[in-house]
């Protein structure tokens, strides 16, 4: 135990004496949150939507078939009430719901005026915006076509409702994304580098020739970065709540536990990289291409996964950040409990154990 | 010996903050001379060499190298000197020929000239068969001899050698010094640092730096007489033991 604590102490010395790196590590979350304040627009294809038809007349039938015909939507049937909509949203089955009120067709015929409601999951505001715009366009098309045959214009009002994120704040989606990215960078990149640096400096040679157990070296290397990550999570959450007005709708302890799980996964990956490389450059390169790029591209944080070609969608399943991103979005923004995210949690935990086992197996007890 | 001065230094000084690495050194080096530049670790040798090779700007003092001023004409200086160090001289992952080509290319040699001279060097070093081998695969002694040949490829007026023979076996070390002598005969001035005190004996003149100053400068014979020592080793120890500086 004394060996271990001496080792951890030493790691902290390294970290605190390299003030430039420390500054970057702690300043990064702040920078990222500012940078990603500018959200990106993106196109949405084949999104699952639900239709609640309370009218069931000729007009609604043809509007639904128009929606179905467009390449933007896949319609989820079997929705009979607002309750069903609510449930589908929570389960993440649908992105938007189209609600026709009772007597839609009659209103349109007799008053030349009718209402249709679009309800969107705006925890991803870009997607929500795009979807409602597309749906509105489809409705407008229909309206124009039937007006052509008549004197008086029909007017269908589309009423939009953004669920979970009423003000459509971009911050709602990028906060979880930034958390995933920052933790990934701190844990994977920094742990990978810190072990490899010992190899480069030659100190690993002395450590290996000493009685200290490799497992102790590995864990002691990871501990400081785990703590640093907790600090980063805290600073991101504080910034979100007090500066960006993003509420934490779910349980804070759950969010923190999940973050620690993700951190451990990243640490394990960093250790695996460091066990298999010999220079800091290689370690950095592998961390960036192996972790950073997939986190940005395939976690769903920047680009909707449902728009990607199938192979990439499959690939996204092995990116830990994807699962963490889903978890944070659900807990922080949708406010769901553990019962809704246990699957993602299990997957993440599985990844962590796999990576850690590999890292320990690959750690050489001798020089190459 | 030709008394043309190819290096002159006058009260040359380099400070890093409050630390004076080189403290007002003055000396001349003549054409074709083998000038040994000795000193303990941290005495300021490397800093002095960097100033003379145009890599580092002096804080004060005057110096000319190959007739050019170290303050204003450091590009001209670089054209007229060669440099080789124990640590990095050749690219390990390039072949022997590729290394020669690369360095010759830097100095703007024509392809025809490079080809002829490459052949000549390889023949001279008895390395004709190794031309297409990676430098990494060569024994250290061969690497060092090759690095020296490359450093004087463009016929510089002066060649700076920073511990060129560290770790080299005794036979190859002597072959290396043989090459140094030949270069000096051809009029190239050799400015060399070493930790081997027997090599100090091979120099025409030797300067010994202690704590940023040059404490002794003369022929090995005169130095031994002045310090009443039987070998250069003894001279060096007598001087270097006075050093008070602790940091590199």
């Amino acid at each position: 135990m004394k060996q271990f604590s001496a080792f951890v102490k030493k790691e902290f010395h390294h970290i605190f004496r390299d003030t430039r790196t420390l500054f970057i590590l702690l300043g990064m979350p702040i920078m990222q949150i500012i940078i990603f304040g500018f959200a990106l627009t993106n196109e949405v294809k084949n999104s699952r939507i639900a239709v609640l038809d309370n009218s069931k007349d000729a007009a609604t039938a043809s509007l639904i078939s128009e929606l179905e015909a467009s390449r933007y939507f896949d319609i989820e049937k079997n929705i009979y009430s607002y309750k069903d909509i609510e449930r589908s949203f929570r389960e993440g089955k649908i992105k938007m719901a189209v609600v026709f009120p009772q007597h839609f067709g009659e209103d349109l015929q007799h008053f030349n005026k009718a209402q249709v409601q679009l309800v969107a999951d705006a925890s991803d505001p870009n997607v929500a915006n795009t979807l409602t715009n597309y749906a509105t366009a489809v409705v407008m098309d229909y309206q124009k076509r039937i007006t052509d045959d008549r004197q008086l214009p029909y007017a269908i009002n589309t009423e939009m409702r953004m669920l979970y994120n009423p003000q459509l704040k971009g911050a709602y989606s990028f906060v979880p994304g930034v958390m995933a990215m920052v933790l990934m960078l701190v844990c994977t990149l920094m742990t990978a580098i810190t072990v490899v640096r010992e190899k480069e400096m030659g100190t690993m040679e002395i450590l290996l020739a000493s009685p200290i157990k490799p497992l102790k070296i590995i864990i002691a290397k990871a501990v400081p970065y785990l703590l640093l990550s907790v600090v980063n999570v805290a600073s991101i959450l504080l910034l979100s709540v007090f500066v960006l007005d993003v509420p934490i709708n779910g349980s804070l302890p759950l969010l923190i536990v999940e973050s620690i799980l993700f951190t451990l996964t990243c640490l394990a990956f960093g250790l695996l990289i460091s066990a298999s490389t010999a220079s800091q450059q290689t370690a950095m390169f592998i961390s960036l291409t192996g972790m950073f790029l997939p986190t940005i591209m395939l976690s769903g944080f920047m680009f909707p996964i449902e728009n990607m070609p199938l192979p990439l969608q499959w690939l996204s399943n092995v990116v830990p950040a994807k699962w963490y991103y889903l978890i944070v979005k659900d807990v922080m923004i949708k406010g769901v409990g553990f019962e809704s995210i246990w699957k993602e949690t299990l997957i993440l935990a599985g990844m962590m154990f796999f990576l850690l086992t590999m890292a320990i197996k690959k750690f050489k007890i001798r020089l190459a | 010996m030709n008394k043309d001065k190819v290096i002159t230094a006058e009260a040359l000084t380099k400070r890093f903050g409050s630390f004076t690495a080189v403290n007002g050194i003055s000396f001349d080096v003549h054409k074709g001379e083998i000038f040994g530049f000795l000193g303990a670790n941290g005495a300021g040798k490397t800093t002095a060499m960097r100033m003379l090779s145009g890599l580092s700007m002096p804080t004060s003092g005057k110096a000319t190298v190959a007739g050019y001023d170290v303050y204003k004409e450091n590009e001209k200086i670089k054209q007229n000197i060669g440099y080789m160090s124990q640590k990095f001289s050749l690219y390990e992952d390039l072949t022997v020929k590729e290394n020669i080509r690369f360095y010759a290319g830097i100095y703007g040699m024509t392809n025809q000239f490079i080809k002829e001279k490459t052949g000549f060097i390889l023949q001279h070093l008895h390395m004709e068969k190794e031309g297409d081998k990676l430098v990494r695969s060569l024994p250290l002694g061969w690497k060092q001899k090759l690095a020296f040949s490359v450093a004087i490829f463009h016929d510089p007026q002066i060649v700076f050698l920073d511990e060129p023979t560290g770790g080299v076996d005794p036979v190859t070390r002597r072959e290396f010094w043989n090459m140094i002598y030949q270069a000096a005969e051809n009029g190239i001035t050799v400015f060399v640092t070493t930790h081997y005190m027997d090599e100090a004996e091979y120099c025409h003149r030797v300067s010994i730096m202690v704590d940023g100053r040059i404490d002794a400068l003369d022929t090995p014979k005169e130095l031994k007489r002045t310090f009443n020592a039987s070998s250069m080793d003894e001279v060096f120890l007598k001087l270097a033991r006075k050093a008070t500086r602790v940091a590199d």
């Binding site: 001496a6 000493s210 | 076996d169 250069m232």
Partner: protein
């Protein structure tokens, strides 16, 4: 009991098809409390040998024991009891002197206090700078710190891989004085060096070149085995003189050696060479000298 035994160790690097051989069947034994020098140029295989003995590398053939323990099977036990100072400075540059020593003491399950008497002589020299970062020390002080760290757990065998390479003559002398004192404490010391002049400071030395041991003996034994007359000659024009000596019949080899040239005589001696050189009419100084390790090394290399 033998402290270290090395039996026909072979080490290769590279693939099966294209490899370089670092050690070609090296064997020797070191007694307890002995100061054993492994002397040879860079690339001779010294570092590979030390890494095999400190359990950091696996040999491709042969066997070795340290303190009676097999370097492969009992690697964990060996790691408890050897001290190792690698060739390049391998301490934490961003930790202070004191922090480094503390850290390594803890890694070896001991404390500075417990073995202070062993490192006192060495450590006290750098103790005034104990709050200075290791990276800011001079070469000689770095070495003293590295040696203190390698000694802090009172190892029974100490491996020092080229401790004096790149170190100036003053620090080298001091370092060897420290080793002599350590020997008195009963620690077996294996030290490698490319500097031939350091051989004389060892109890016994192995001269190694291109992965093969050329000879193992006491320094005196190696010199006595030289077997030929050695003459030292100097004059005002050394380059000319060397060519003349080489041309003299009876001279087996001639090379510069400090301020003199050394001439190895196949047959004949002072008289013959002297007579030959006098013919050119130039003044010279000639004397018979005892060979030193460097002469012996070169003679063995050329065999």
């Amino acid at each position: 009991m033998r402290s270290v035994t090395v039996n026909n160790i072979i080490k290769r690097y590279g693939t099966k098809k294209s490899f370089t051989t670092a050690l070609e069947g090296v064997s020797f034994e070191v007694d307890k409390g002995e100061l054993f020098g492994i002397i040879g140029p860079d690339g001779a295989g010294k570092t590979s040998l030390f890494r095999i003995l400190t359990t950091l590398l696996l040999a491709d053939g042969g066997s070795a024991t340290v303190d009676g323990l097999d370097v492969v099977k009992n690697y964990k036990d060996i790691r408890e009891r050897v001290g190792y100072m690698p060739g390049r400075f391998s301490l934490y540059q961003d930790l202070t002197v004191q922090e480094n020593l503390d850290f390594f003491a803890t890694v070896f399950n001991t404390s500075i206090e417990e073995n202070y008497d062993l490192v006192k002589d060495i450590y006290s020299q750098i103790e005034p700078f104990k709050d200075r970062k290791a990276g800011k020390l001079s070469g000689g002080m770095k070495q003293k710190l590295a040696l203190s760290c390698a000694l802090i757990h009172r190892p029974s065998v100490l491996f020092l891989d080229e401790p004096t390479t790149g170190v100036d003559a003053v620090s080298r002398k001091e370092f060897w004085e420290m080793l002599k004192k350590l020997k008195e404490q009963g620690i077996t010391i294996l030290v490698s060096t490319p500097y031939m002049d350091e051989a004389g400071l060892c109890d016994r030395v192995a001269l190694i070149q291109s992965g093969k041991i050329m000879t193992i003996n006491t320094p005196e034994g190696i010199v006595n085995a030289f077997g030929k007359k050695l003459l030292a000659v100097k004059s005002d024009n050394m380059l000319q003189l060397l060519n003349k000596i080489k041309a003299c019949p009876g001279v087996a080899d001639a090379y510069p050696f400090g301020e003199y040239h050394h001439a190895v005589m196949e047959n004949g001696g002072t008289k013959e060479l002297s007579a030959y050189l006098e013919r050119s009419g130039k003044a010279f100084e000639l004397k018979e000298v005892t060979p030193d390790i460097e002469d012996c090394f070169m003679a063995l290399m050329k065999n």
